[in-house]
Amino acid sequence: MKRSLVMGRSNAGKTLFCIQFARYLGVRDAEWLVERTDGTLERQRISLDTARQLWSGDGQRTRGLHSLMIELPRGKGVRSLWLTDTTGLREDIDESPDLRADMAQTLRAMLESQVILHVVDASAVGRALAEAGRDGSPTGAWGDLDEQLAAFGMAHAGYVLLANKMDLPEARAGLAYLRKRLDKRRVLPVSARCGTGFREVKQHVWRMA
């Protein structure tokens, strides 16, 4: 089955986005498929509300691949595909080996996915830009890692960048930066918290499904 992979830097809002986007697409009774790096596969029935409390928030780092089945209308029927939340990427030099294993799992999944949703915290980019001053770069919120991921994505039809947290004021400057940095058509502003911008994301996923 086809897979939409939600990936990006840690704390960008991937988990919250998955939960809210699933809700938007009409998922009610959520059954999660959890794939861990040790090869185990587990089914968990956890409602979206509970998942939001359990899995998204400060200090709640996602580990492993968490997938939900979503359905999109296609012709007379529906197409189902996986919406997969992943371990956030980061480039600390003291990342532990098992965290590396989780991120390697994210990279492997990336190679297999038809849709890649690269979530970026646009408000953090905006804040970092304000701190860096004129001509500065948004250190910590957008870096090498994101550049390389975006570069990878440019050759992949299913790639879009989701500029998240657009409900926060600093996010506007962040969005402007991201639009300059890469092909504008590949940047979609969203707010995982408020659910804005989801229609465009749905269209993109639908096209690839």
Binding site: L89, I93, D144, A151, F152, K180, D183
Partner: protein
């Protein structure tokens, strides 16, 4: 099906991910490799290719430093080599991986930090470093007090230096305390991160020539990892005077002819004492002397009712007096 769109073969992709997992590649390097080498550019080119013209511009700041001819020549060689590597790559010829970690040997005040700072900027302009800043540390910033503390402190400094240059002053002191000393741990930690994060930062180890040579000799793993050596010689008297004049000029002061003569004499004396083993800090000695001169100049003119613009700018021989610091 999606797989068909990748430029790099499946087996190579698996290898890249395995290398990342085992800590041999940084995450962004792995992503870069997965994208294939001829990746399509983002909308803006991030790093302009190294042009000869740009290279010349980059060298001007360095050239404007007093003396250091040998250092300037070596830096020119390094950048000429980097430029050639790029041209060879453009022609599809084989290129050597370049290791840019460096050893700076020389006495205090001979311009090691200044040169490191300029080179960091040059590497950034050449697209070899992301930020090009300089993080200057010494033993106390790296070595901790208990087991594990050192690795933690060293990692923290390396993290700060990511994208720039980590400049370790008096690096030989890391090997000072023998085998049980935590300094060893700092060296090991540094070396490990130099491998793990190839190309993400450049390490410069600096210190007195004799001590640095001993340091490299007693740590067999180091010489191959620090292939570039720059030797900073002491300034001669004329160069010390030139440095003083520039310092004055930058602060809108001038040296009177008598002051310049006196400075020449003081410098010659200080160097003569240095030859007998007294510590002498080269450009730092000049700076201390000049800063003291500016204070003495202010005191001298304090009581004067009218002071001309000319007087406000001119340092006299009487203002030049050696202070406490060597």
């Amino acid at each position: 099906m999606a797989y068909g769109t990748w430029r790099i073969p499946r087996s190579r992709a698996n290898q890249v991910i395995a290398d990342y997992e085992s800590g041999q590649l940084a995450l962004s390097e792995a992503l870069e490799a997965l994208g294939g080498s001829s990746r399509p550019p983002l909308q803006e080119a991030e790093t302009a290719p190294l042009s000869r013209e740009r290279l010349r511009q980059l060298l001007t700041e360095l050239d404007s430093l007093v003396g250091l001819e040998h250092v300037k020549d070596t830096v020119r060689e390094i950048f000429a080599f980097l430029y050639m590597q790029q041209r060879r790559r453009d022609c599809g010829l084989r290129t050597e991986p370049v290791v840019l970690h460096m050893v700076f040997k020389g006495n205090p005040g001979t311009g090691k930090t200044t040169v490191a700072r300029i080179m960091a900027k040059m590497f950034r302009e050449a697209g070899l470093l992301e930020k090009g800043h300089l993080v200057e540390v010494e033993r106390a910033d790296l070595v901790g007090e208990y087991i594990g503390h050192t690795a933690q402190k060293t990692r923290e400094q390396i993290r700060r230096a990511m994208g720039g240059v980590l400049f370790i002053d008096e690096a030989y002191s890391l090997a000072r305390g023998g085998d049980k000393d935590f300094g060893r741990e700092a060296i090991d930690c540094l070396v490990k991160h130099m491998e793990d994060h190839r190309n993400r930062f450049i390490a410069v180890i600096a210190g007195y020539e004799r001590e640095m040579e001993w340091f490299l000799r007693t740590n067999p793993g180091l010489p191959s990892r620090f292939p570039i050596h720059l030797t900073f010689s002491d300034y001669d008297v004329s160069q010390l005077v030139e440095i003083a004049k520039r310092m004055a000029w930058e602060r809108q002061y001038r040296l009177s002819p008598e002051a310049e003569l006196k400075l020449r004499r003081l410098a010659a004396e200080a160097k003569a004492r240095a030859a007998w083993g007294e510590p002498f800090s080269n450009a730092r000695w000049v700076r201390n002397l000049m800063e003291r001169a500016m204070r003495r100049h202010a005191v001298r003119l304090f009581e004067a009712v009218t002071v001309s613009r000319e007087q406000m700018m001119r340092l006299e021989a009487a203002d030049l007096e050696e202070g406490g610091a060597p």
